[in-house]
Symmetry: C2
Subunit: 338 residues, 2 copies
Amino acid sequence: MSQTASIKDVATHAQVAVGTVSNVLNYPDRVSQRTKERVLKSIAELGFVRNDAARQLRAGQSRTIGLIVLDVGNPFFSSVARAAEDAATALGSVVLVGDSGQDASREAHYMDLFQEQRVQGLLISPVGDVADRIDTLRERGVPTVLVDQLADTDRCSSVSVDDQEGGYLAARHLLDTGRRRLAFVGTPSIRQVANRLSGAQRAVAEAAGATIEVLDSAGQTVLAGRQVGNDLVERAPGERPEAVFCSNDLLALGVMQSLTMLRTVKIPEDIALIGYDDIDFAVSAVVPLSSIRQPTEALGRTAIELLAEEQESGGTKHRAVVFTPELVVRQSTAGSPN
Amino acid sequence: MSQTASIKDVATHAQVAVGTVSNVLNYPDRVSQRTKERVLKSIAELGFVRNDAARQLRAGQSRTIGLIVLDVGNPFFSSVARAAEDAATALGSVVLVGDSGQDASREAHYMDLFQEQRVQGLLISPVGDVADRIDTLRERGVPTVLVDQLADTDRCSSVSVDDQEGGYLAARHLLDTGRRRLAFVGTPSIRQVANRLSGAQRAVAEAAGATIEVLDSAGQTVLAGRQVGNDLVERAPGERPEAVFCSNDLLALGVMQSLTMLRTVKIPEDIALIGYDDIDFAVSAVVPLSSIRQPTEALGRTAIELLAEEQESGGTKHRAVVFTPELVVRQSTAGSPN
DNA sequence: CGTAACAAATGAAACGATTCAAAGACGAGT
DNA sequence: ACTCGTCTTTGAATCGTTTCATTTGTTACG
């Protein structure tokens, strides 16, 4: 009673064989009504709870799906994670979320962990170069889906949003409102960020007399944004960009905090500001933040669907789903300069 | 090579006994340098990865700690979760996060799941009444720590923040700035929320001529807050409260969105607004949001510490750690009415 | 009455790691 | 040469499930 009862204890208590108890649990139809009742009663009395480790050992695979994100504190990722969880639950699986915090070693740590756990599959928004690692995982029968990053379809599946297009939309919008000297804030070592930047650069190249400088931030958090904002404030007014495109909303809100705290710079008159992701908090910012919206629910849901497809095909067929981002204009990019 | 190698395969390949391979992994000192090298080489060549299920089955316990929160999308909880993860990692454990979404059945689902996984321990911020369930868990050797809610110390340990005090601080602050007709927004069915409310009521009782009405929200999200805000906007101006205290910042930001969208109501002149948790986004809100700050990192870290204490004592000794919340005043509660 | 057909229940084997008592190897001391 | 002690290695037993070939029990039919 005090310690955990095993299936054997249940069998003894109900006076049946262990196989019968297992059948009651897994194939109730194979068992007669009478014994079923007896077994269920014993289970209740002993407070028996299946040991998942034993089950998994026998099955050779777990009912678990690993998800590695860049930052769970970012509403974008927590939204994707929740959608994935819901979709997985519907399939009888569970999602384990690991937070790499944009750190390659933490990412590797979680990959090791998930491999030891023999996860059904892996969803990952990678920091480092994980292509080789993913190949070996696939060889071992662990299908992987890249999340928020386009993959080579003959290596693995992916769900992503067209980041180049998103970057283009953002920069184009800033240029359309008359700004010429742009700045990009983010960590281009992350592929998604690099793509957003290159989209922005394309837009700049198309516009006469436009320039874009890159400000590498220390991370993609509110705090990192605040730091960049402080640097901007310290510049001579003429040296400041007319518009800032941040690679995500957290950064943008951080920049906004710094700029509005020191009352010298006005948004959007002096500096226009646009973010990326359109998190819930963007609309209620000091100056409501323009942003690029991504379909987070669709990303999470589709990731699970693709994983299921991979499993069915035995990891041979891959598919890349690409969603289109959407520009959301708010006050932070209103009007035109001067 | 293609499928996963077991310890037996490694043993064969390295021409040693399985026990030796196990020793290389767990007690390297017991093995001679030469065989150790040979075994490690085989491990690398075969790409062997430990099977956690088997290990866990033998050990009878996993290296996993379950954490059930009310809403991972809420930065308060993701911050607590991250702190707990970091503390657990330092102890060689892993935290699995389950999101109950304030739903008792989802909460029960995760409890079942974690019990099947034979987690080392459980951290939970409960929705429903889980006292009995926790008792049986303890009997089965699964220590539990209540997070963000005070527990009876002769039943289980807990880390919390004094919610009554927090509620008192918030309401008192509103009253001190001259407001008399207050409103409380939240879901008092959640214990924490109920405590915040009762603290606020105490403050109101102390102030002459002050009243507080309770607006039960559908959840504790930005969306739920927006709904409440819309209701407020539709009231005749004289019917509106002079100050609103929301049981968390998400709700407060939602209310703020509704109020500022329709330009008729001004914050803080017409309605003052205060939230709870002091999430990162509070400071960068349209009108910077006053709030009650809670020490999230300390909560997460301490939860893990208490769990360790429970484990050491065999679940016999319990301790309740209570932190003190702190009032953070910003523009949303500035000045006084009229 | 014999037996075929089907349903229900049985229990040993397997999954992959860890543990531990026992055996083996080797050198030092007598 | 023999014994003792230390260090290494061995391999069977174990954890709690699921699976599946067998056995047992029951009913139907010729």
